[in-house]
Symmetry: C3
Subunit: 136 residues, 3 copies
Amino acid sequence: MFRATLSLPARPRGLSPLTPQVAEQVQRAGIQEGLCNLFLHHTSASLLIQENADPDVLHDLEAFLSRLIPDGDPLFRHVAEGADDMPAHLKTALTASSLTVPLGRGRLLLGTWQGIFLWEHRDRAPPRRLTITIIG
Amino acid sequence: MFRATLSLPARPRGLSPLTPQVAEQVQRAGIQEGLCNLFLHHTSASLLIQENADPDVLHDLEAFLSRLIPDGDPLFRHVAEGADDMPAHLKTALTASSLTVPLGRGRLLLGTWQGIFLWEHRDRAPPRRLTITIIG
Amino acid sequence: MFRATLSLPARPRGLSPLTPQVAEQVQRAGIQEGLCNLFLHHTSASLLIQENADPDVLHDLEAFLSRLIPDGDPLFRHVAEGADDMPAHLKTALTASSLTVPLGRGRLLLGTWQGIFLWEHRDRAPPRRLTITIIG
């Protein structure tokens, strides 16, 4: 078993690539075959596996989700932390805090077009903590 | 390896805390390091990791999702089990039936503000079965 | 540990049952107790656990999600691969690429009404690759 907790520097709202940071820990772990779990210790940012090729995909994911769950919706009671806070909780609820990816020959078995992303839902986000656990 | 299946008493529609019940099983298991998987054996209720502090967050999550996926939408063909049944399937599809959380020093490594919840999507729900599996 | 990668023949848009193919690999693996992870190596199709009884549920899931995330939404910049491509990425983002199910006595511990499905989001999809990993 291997576990590492990373502190990810604050990112702008939207999708930021995370595959290199995860792949580095997988290499450090030295476990050849098994499962790699990623767990984000937050409720207003999430993890996503999505296309790593065309940056327009990342733009459209953010644009669509922010239209579906708009900042400042008058439905919300939880507004003390800002107009983007409750939408951030909802976006996290509809995506994932935890992802599990198979490992083979010491590498993440992602598809050709798959990348791992941090999806930051806050406008002025703090750094985020991510735990990587590998079981072989 | 540890596995336990719990019967959760029927809850009202909306989010009910589940962290204490899961933490109790983690303590019983006595496994110090590893992964804890939660699996709900149903298709009209789901599992969620979300903010455990302000109850308004729980209210807003339920209010938003029930506005997005309204009871009795005329689009639905599957209506024999009630106006809240097909929305319950959709809400489950857009959230999670299975969650994996890392364990360290014999405890769930949740973030400060993270709690585990059962999200009941039916108005008159039955008891729900949850399986907790821990691999160390 | 057991791992197998399957090539799933191209399916029409919508939900196709996957439980038999997964159950067959679980039987081959011969592992009695543990966790079974399913990982789909794509960004425009997803995995879902949902009701395996009434086909109307499958129809309604597809109809609702395709109304929520319509083909050809003018918001999208990523349009070169067709009007159904960016919606397929979004539908995948809001459902799952990776699912973990507990195993007991050598069988998937699904609920009575739960089935595993491939949710194909493209109109003219290619075959899809699925990796099944079992840790006991």
